[in-house]
């Protein structure tokens, strides 16, 4: 039985179906027939999922919206009851399923933290011992004695996160909670999670769309797709699989009538774009320092002797990081008809994360774009351990305070 002892969570054939009633009347009919009638449709949120998580493991769960991630966490926490299958949990769970769930806005931060402690089964004295750690971690100053309702969302997150991780849980479940909060607080959480990992006695379960954080923290990643568990592997493998699934497709057409698409398209219309690695294989993941090959097609409705175009590279906040403009390379002027260009970039010196590629075209220099769309494709830049031939170590660092990485060397003189 000793092998059973280090299992923190054991999930077997877990399935969850919801009954969907078309109207409240149907629900009453169902109740009155003591469940024998059938006045509802069924919706399966999770289908036949099995896995074990050992103590000390940090497991990420990734998947598209609606793939069953949150349902899985709720089942593990015992909030939902499985329709079939079983969940076995060894130890005390602390769950951050929704930030500050259970916080009452009318009460002060202090009162809410104590209440949270009561929920976790701590006595007042035990909470007194923990409170200073919690308030120090949250670092919200004298707001701790103000009603939570007046907190900024940042303060709210900090307090909720601080109280959840300071209860020494055996199992820590976090659903998208790291996404809020400023970068220094995120870094602090990362450090704290890593220190929990080092102690090696708690299991951490993390749902996130932030693949960089997942890659940084997790020892193993589960991928859910269409309510199934489709991949249970090391982070690199799961993430790359997910990237492929995540309509991080390597080819896309410029969407017609998209609200963010600008320009009258009087002289030219952008058509589609594909992205490849230097071996001309379709790809959406690039290590820092890799070159990206982009193919862009557009139609000129008439001859454009001074026409020019560009490919844009921007971050998830929409900040334009670079513009690969054809004019810079002297590619100016196009005949009427369809054109396809292949653009090979230099080494990409952006930090690990998600970026958007887009394009624009104009009929001459200095006029507004005739067609422009900034996010036709998404790519993922990861930390390959080196940039070009130089060693570079970004693990554990979220470098959102600068946009671009410039390689450099340090010598002591």
């Amino acid at each position: 039985m000793s092998s059973q002892d280090d299992i923190a969570i054991s999930v077997r054939n877990l399935t969850k179906t919801y009954r969907l009633f078309r109207s409240p009347t149907d629900r009453i009919k169902q109740a009155l027939t003591l469940g024998r009638g059938k006045f509802h449709d069924q919706f399966t949120a999770l289908r036949d999922v099995s896995f074990d998580i050992k103590k000390g493991e940090t497991v990420g769960i990734i998947g598209k919206n609606g793939s069953g991630k949150s349902t899985l966490l709720q089942l593990i926490c015992g909030i939902l009851k499985p329709t079939y299958g079983s969940v076995q949990v060894n130890g005390r769970i602390s769950a951050l399923l929704e930030l500050g769930a259970g916080f009452n806005p009318e009460f002060t931060g202090r009162e809410n933290v104590y209440f949270q402690g009561t929920l976790m089964g701590f006595s007042r004295a035990e909470m007194d011992a923990r409170f200073d750690d919690i308030s120090a971690f949250a670092d919200i100053g004298e707001f701790i004695d103000q009603p939570v309702g007046i907190y900024s969302s940042g303060m709210f997150v900090r307090l909720a996160f601080a109280s959840a991780i300071n209860f020494n849980p055996d199992i820590l479940v976090i659903d998208e909670a790291l996404a809020v909060g400023d970068s220094s607080f995120q870094a602090k959480c990362m450090v704290h999670l890593k220190s929990i990992q080092k102690k090696g006695c708690s299991a951490i379960l993390l749902v996130s769309h932030d693949l960089v954080a997942i890659q940084n923290l997790c020892t193993r990643v589960l991928t859910l797709e269409d309510n199934h568990l489709v991949c249970d592997a090391v982070p690199e493998q799961s993430i790359s699989r997910y990237q492929t699934e995540l309509s991080l497709s390597a080819t896309a057409a410029f969407p017609v009538g998209h609200p963010l698409r600008q320009g009258p398209q009087r002289f030219a219309t952008l058509q589609h774009m594909s992205v490849m690695n230097v071996y001309l294989e379709a790809a959406t993941q690039f290590a820092m320092g890799d070159r990206i090959v982009i193919e862009l097609s557009f139609v000129c409705h008439e001859k454009l002797p001074a026409g020019r175009f560009g490919v844009t590279f921007s971050n998830t906040s929409g900040v334009l990081l670079h513009d690969f403009a054809s004019g810079f390379s002297g590619v100016i002027g196009f005949a009427a008809g369809c054109h396809t260009f292949r653009i090979t970039t230099g080494p990409i010196l952006a930090y690990p994360g998600r970026y958007f590629l887009g394009a624009w075209i104009q009929h001459s220099k200095g006029v507004p774009s005739d067609d422009r769309f900034g996010s036709v494709l998404a790519i993922h830049v990861y930390d390959g351990g080196k940039v070009g031939h130089r060693e570079a170590n970004f693990s554990g660092i979220r470098c959102s305070n600068t946009e671009v990485y410039l390689p450099c060397s340090f010598e002591k003189i």
């Binding site: 009954r19 409240p24 009453i28 709720q74 009851k81 769950a95 769930a101 259970g102």
Partner: protein
Amino acid sequence: MLSTLKTFYQNRGLLLELVKRDVLLRYRGAWLGLVWVLLNPLIMLGVYSYAFGYLFQLRGAGSGGLPYVLNLYCGLIAFNIFGETVSRAPTAVRSFPSYVKKIVFPVNILPIVPLGSSLLHAAFNLLILAAALAWTGHLSAGILLYPLFLIPIILFALGLGWFFAAWGVFIRDVAQVVPVLVQISLFLSPILYPSSIIPAPLRPISDLNPLAAAIEAQRAAILGTPVAWNDWMLSCLLGVLVALLGLLFFEHSRDEFADVM
């Protein structure tokens, strides 16, 4: 069922905290704060005295010289425990979706919270009643038995509380229906009148009212007249039955709460 009762015991600290929050939240921010706990029943007693004692000049039949107002007040204290718990039941669980869906929480203690705060209010009411009885020279040791007579009422309130709390999650209409039912039960119970005025042919039906025996017993205790212990025992047993059925229904349906909220 036993394990459910055990979780109630394990979560007593949490329950106490929730009741405290419930009471504090009601008065938080009010200038007079917790003074209202005492002020509210005092004002009500004043209004009853004016309307029934001064305007109507009512002297309750069979009340042994006890002013009608105090007679009424005595019944109302007990009834309010029932009324407050039951009428708040439909929203007791429904108004805390995050407890049901987002955190690990023993939801079956939520319907007990209104009972807790109504008991606290009742305690203050009882103090005022005792003072008023002393003032009019009717105070007897019988009032010490009062809490004993609350047992069947508490059990009923809990049973119906669990029942309506579960229904309230699934069907919103319950929140509309229950206050009406509570109002009806106020008039069908011997609170505004002693049960002795109910015509004999209706007696067997009115005796079925589980609240009646408890309320009559309270009156008897306060007046110092013999208490109908048999009736009280019977309503206690009935109360246990209702409470268990209510809890059973709640436990049966709680698995689906998170699905529908």
